[in-house]
């Protein structure tokens, strides 16, 4: 049939299109964490995203200026709450750098051991949650099971499942338990077995692969421009890992590899985390081999470290020292330092300023996941709405760290 209005130009028949605006969040089921996105859509593809964060802003930096140096630890737990130990260690190292002290070797191994287990838990959670958001619920449950094994060990060592506040200025709250080594090996084996199984479930699944590969690609140059670090940077092919580039604690004695990807897409980010998980377990095993069985855990610095409880209750010096440390806080020398460690999401930096009193003058945390999140509009441009879910999952935005 011939159209009636055949003398109308084809271009005029086109409906005028204008981008549609869609609000996503701040409470959206497929987004772990709370974040709001204003999307500009052309059909189903995303043209522009305005990411609005800050829905979990809890005033971390302000709260640090209220208490003593030691009272910051509980707050650091809740920064990246998937791997609290790594935050504890990062902050402890920053204060120790300012004080110019180094913790005894046994404690360094202990920090690496628990820290790597914590990193494994972080990557398990991130990958599990990402799989769950794509509808793969079974692998998620398996990874939760693996994480439960890690948390059991952490609970035995630190007394808390999640918010440990365990590593302190100049050492740790408690020495390692006698059976930490045996338990760590057990946990490593259990976690590895579960991971190998869930790998088989996911990584041969056509749907899962299709939704990850080639989505959210970022080039290495762009990643550096955005200041990405951690697994996200490594997925673009740049092997920058603080543990290798600027070894701290005893990482220079550990034999491990830095896995890199080459496309910088969701699949690479997923796989880099997955490979790092095995490397973490490898480091844990080496720690078990090398860690000395006895020796001090805390530095011998009574002006910074709480005395043992027997002394507090038994001697007058111990009581006074304890009182002064608790009420006035450890006196940290005047100055400012920037100290950085490799956390679950990348370079976790603490920039701390002290004016010589027991209270921090300024504690600034460099949150690695904000940098990755900042690249999100670039990653998603031109992709479909449905791709937001896996891409956002691979960013691994952790509210507590991102919004502080």
């Amino acid at each position: 049939m011939e159209p009636n209005d055949y003398d109308i130009d084809e271009a005029d028949l086109e409906l005028p299109t204008e981008p549609m605006r869609l609000n996503m969040g701040p409470s959206h089921p497929a987004m772990h964490g709370t974040i709001r996105m204003i999307l500009e859509l052309d059909g189903e593809s995303v043209e522009k995203v305005d990411v609005q964060m800050g829905y979990l802003h809890r005033g971390f930096e302000k709260m640090c200026e209220r208490g003593t140096w030691a009272q910051v630890f509980p707050y650091t737990d809740r920064l990246n709450y998937v791997s609290p130990i790594l935050n504890n260690v990062g902050y402890a190292l920053a204060v120790e750098k300012l004080c110019g002290i180094t913790v005894p070797e046994r404690c360094q191994y202990y920090r690496v051991l628990l820290g790597e287990l914590s990193r494994a838990a972080d990557h398990l959670t991130c990958n599990g949650a990402m799989a769950m958001e794509l509808g793969a619920f079974t692998p998620f449950l398996w990874m939760m099971k693996a994480r439960e094994h890690i948390w059991d060990l952490l609970e035995e060592e630190t007394g808390a499942r999640l918010t440990h506040s365990f590593f302190r200025i100049g050492g740790a709250a408690k020495p390692p338990t006698p059976n930490v080594k045996a338990r760590a090996l057990e946990v490593c084996d259990a976690v590895e077995a579960i991971c190998r199984e869930s790998e088989k479930l996911l990584l041969t699944n056509r749907i899962f692969l299709d939704r990850l590969q080639g989505i959210g690609t970022v080039s290495a140059a762009e990643a550096v421009q955005f200041g990405w670090t951690g697994p996200a940077l490594r997925s673009t092919g740049i092997a920058y890992d603080v543990r290798k580039a600027h070894p701290y604690l005893v990482y220079d004695r550990m034999d491990f590899e830095v896995p890199v990807g080459h496309d910088g897409d969701n699949y690479d980010r997923y796989m880099v985390r997955w490979a790092e998980l095995y490397q973490s377990l490898r480091i844990v095993r080496q720690c078990v081999e090398q860690m000395p069985d006895d020796g001090p855990v805390n530095v011998d610095a009574p002006e910074l470290v709480l005395p043992p409880k027997e002394q507090v209750y038994g001697t007058i010096e111990g009581t006074i020292q304890h009182f002064k440390l608790v009420m006035e806080g450890p006196k940290v020398p005047k100055g400012e330092v920037y100290s950085f460690t490799e956390a679950g999401n990348g370079e976790l930096g603490f920039f701390i300023v002290s004016d010589g009193t027991g209270t921090p003058y300024r504690v600034r945390v460099r949150p690695p996941s904000v940098f990755v999140l900042q690249g999100f509009p670039r990653m998603i441009r031109g992709h479909m709405i449905a791709d937001i879910v896996p891409t956002f999952g691979s960013v691994n935005m952790i509210g507590g760290e991102c919004d502080r």
Binding site: M53, G54, H57, G59, E61, K62, M63, E65, R66, G67, T68, Q71, K97, L98, G100, E222, V224, Q225, F226, G227, W228, I238, Y240, A245, H246, M327, E328, G329, G335, E336, V337, Y338, F340, E347, G349, F351, V353, T357, G358, T359, Y361, R362, R364, R366, V370, F371, Q374, D403, R404
Partner: protein, 220 residues
């Protein structure tokens, strides 16, 4: 290693460099606000510096100083593995004050040099109220637009809330109870920059014996 960078900057900018310090292996350079952008650009482009990676930008508030804010830019070179801290000192912008070249209150944005700086300059604006000239989108990052003031300034009382939602009241809503006051958990060593929120003073709680039923209203 990083000292090379400091030497390069000193040689290039001479009198614009206010001071350089090296403390516990951290190198930092303080420059005049007028030269801040040029130095940042030099650090990025000079092959000996090659600061390809933006690490962090933040500020520190020193209310007792004349130039109140210290802007701190941390940079890293991915290839040369050195780090440097670039700092500059800014004055507080008074309302309605005419721009005074001897009291600089703003610096140009560095988000044109490193894309990563964009959000962090927004955060500095949000938390400290420092503006960046030429920033593409200087909105609040973490707080909401209705928020008044800049919370990380030392004179902002930590417990002064500005709720977006009016609080409920009723018998099931409790206010703060004794002995928890506004300065709860604060040690002796705390600096008293800001008076604590007046509505939570000791008196407003009254005597615990004849305390009025908590009405649940919170300080605004």
């Amino acid at each position: 290693m990083s000292a090379v960078v400091v030497e390069r900057v000193k040689a290039q900018f001479g009198s614009k460099v206010v001071e350089t310090t090296s403390f516990r292996g951290d190198e930092s350079i303080v420059v005049e606000p007028a030269a801040y952008y040029q130095v940042a650009k030099f650090l990025r482009d000079d092959p000996a510096c090659d600061m390809s990676m933006f690490i962090d930008i933040t500020a520190v508030d020193y209310p007792s100083r004349d130039a109140r804010f210290e802007l701190v830019l941390n940079l890293y070179s991915l290839h040369k593995a050195h780090r440097v801290r670039l700092k500059t000192r800014l004055f507080e912008a008074e309302q309605g004050e005419v721009a005074d070249a001897t009291r600089p209150t703003t610096v140009p944005t560095v988000s044109t040099l490193w894309a990563g700086a964009n959000w962090f300059e927004r955060e500095v604006w949000d938390m400290f109220g420092l503006k960046f000239e030429g920033h593409p989108d200087l909105r609040r990052l973490l707080l909401y637009e209705e928020f008044e003031g800049h919370p990380l300034r030392k004179d902002y009382s930590a417990d002064k809330t500005q709720p977006l939602m009016p609080y409920r009241s009723g018998p099931d809503v409790l206010g703060k109870q004794r002995p928890f006051l506004g300065d709860e958990g604060m040690p002796f060593g705390r600096k008293d920059w800001a008076p604590r929120d007046a509505s939570w003073s000791d008196d407003s709680l009254g005597d615990p014996e004849d305390a009025p039923p908590p009405d649940g209203t919170a300080p605004v």
